[in-house]
Amino acid sequence: MSTPQNSRVQARPRVPAPSFARSVWLVATREIIARLRSKAFLISTGLLLLISIGSVVAGGIASQNQSLPRVAVVGSATQIIERTEAFRIVEADDVAAAEKLVRAGDVSAAVVPATGEADPLGVRIIALDSPPLDVLGTLSVSPAVSLLDPAPQSGGLVYLVSLGFGLVFFMSAITFGSTIAQSVVEEKQTRVVEILMTTIPVRALLGGKVVGNSIMAFGQIVAIGALVSIGMAITGQSGLLGTVGPSIVWFAVFFAFGFVMLAALFAATASMVSRQEDVGSATSPVLFLVMIPYFLVIFFNDNAAVLAVMSYIPFSAPVGMPMRIFLDTALWWEPLLSLAILLVSTVVVILLGSRIYSNSLLRMGARVTFRQALRG
């Protein structure tokens, strides 16, 4: 038995060590497969996709059924109301019947022939508890209005879009950030990390984790973006798609780099503790950084100054800059400059993060302090 073994040793060629990129890719693939096999991940992704497609479909149904206000009419008032084409008409036999419909809430108002000669319009409006502004507005004469600085988007839409960007960024960053943090601590807690460290460079290990989880996060964002776009096209909201589309694309680009930065931060801070129970407290500073842009964009989506600042700070740029593109307040070079700032800070964070990561991995037990982690 020893003879074939010996010959095998002599014949054994030296296996070349895999390149850095190859090591990163092997680690990333393992991360992705581990994610895809996790039931929790599949369920939460499914839910997120369902919610986004659901909100688009709901929006489509609501816009199609945007029914004209129902108005009851009596006698000669019919012709006047028909001419406006702004109401759905319910004919009533007499004023009493019209009043009954108003009281029952079947119609928002009733238009009946005026009783007095003094009325120039020849009609009188009956409503329940307050003057019906939509009916009055249609039947009134208004002076011409010139807008000096027309808002490109309506307030409600701005709010919805800002909520959408903020929420998607927040949710993805938290989901995948905490996934990355947990997988770092899992390796530390199960001690598999020492074998990994003797096999590949620590930077390749960190790189693989960041790349793998970023691909998953980015894939989720792209899936949501595609679903929302297709949903809008199918439900006949392509007009809306035209206005939101470019900012969605920019959002995806900013998100890709912004997430890499966050992922490195999550990995570095998580590497300083040794138990899953401590992950929450260790990564809370990073969580805070993710929550700030989310709340800022929701509360200040109509404040140009706040949005302008947000769009240049690396942590909030993935939400701030697409918002400004949507609002059409960003010059053409602004997203590029902001992206450059984001790229530089991502590189700095990765360098710093990999230092913390390498210095903390073998320190088990008590939490590693920032000073220890940076000095090594």
């Binding site: 060590a17 895999p18 581990a34 096999r37 598999v192 020492e194 003797t198």
Partner: protein
Amino acid sequence: MLEIRNVNKHYGTRQVLNGVSFGVESGRLTGFVGANGAGKTTTMRIILGVLSADSGTVLQDGVPLTSDDRRRFGYMPEERGLYPKMKVGEHLVYLARLHGLSPASARRNTAELLDRLGLGERAGDLVQSLSLGNQQRAQIAAALVHDPEFLVLDEPFSGLDPIAVEVVMSVLSGFAAQGAPVLFSSHQLDIVERLCDDVVIIADGQIRANGPREQLREQHSSPRFELRTAVDAEWIRSVPGISVLDLSDGVAVFEAATDAASQAVLRQALDRAPVTSFSQQRPSLAAIFKEVVQ
């Protein structure tokens, strides 16, 4: 041949390794013995490059180790661990591929090794579903799966049942027989005694004894002899230069002041009655360990 030369390491103000030097010969099993905290794990981590030494070098065939060389090492850390939610076979293939093996040879090595370790049927099971002993075997497989050129194992026998100990011993011997140097640490001195060609003893960060096992026993043997003969051996007490330590029936344990004195005892014994055994008592590894560590 791997050589550790004058390695020093401190944590904070504590000096954990102090001028550590020893060699690990190719094709031989070297046992690394020391109490807890003596510096075994630190030394092994420095060999593997997980820790860096304050000073000193690790050489392979006279050349300082590079990280590429280290990738061809196999390592079983004292702190065991594999991904609990990966399948055993997949896990080993993953590690082999991180070492640079092609997917095909990674799978082939994994299958071979699992069979040799008696885990062939468990390849598709999750690591966390294995019993502790089987996890330990999987851990040893993880150190071997890429056909390493040098093997470092930190306490490979702790936590193994007697059958698994035999399996692992045969795997390690087979590995050394292929011409690779093997270094392993152990608390179980009896295993080291049975298995190792060379022994390194460390205490308080210093190498206290180092060399081939038999040579160490030779060096540390006392002028103590045991004689077994058919008749009562009371007469030994009267032989000059002999002090008797123990005497019962035909068995005598004595110390001889000179070689001539011990030979004189043997000659007289043969004259009186048949001698069944006459031997110089060699200390066990445990005894040597106690002696050099103090």
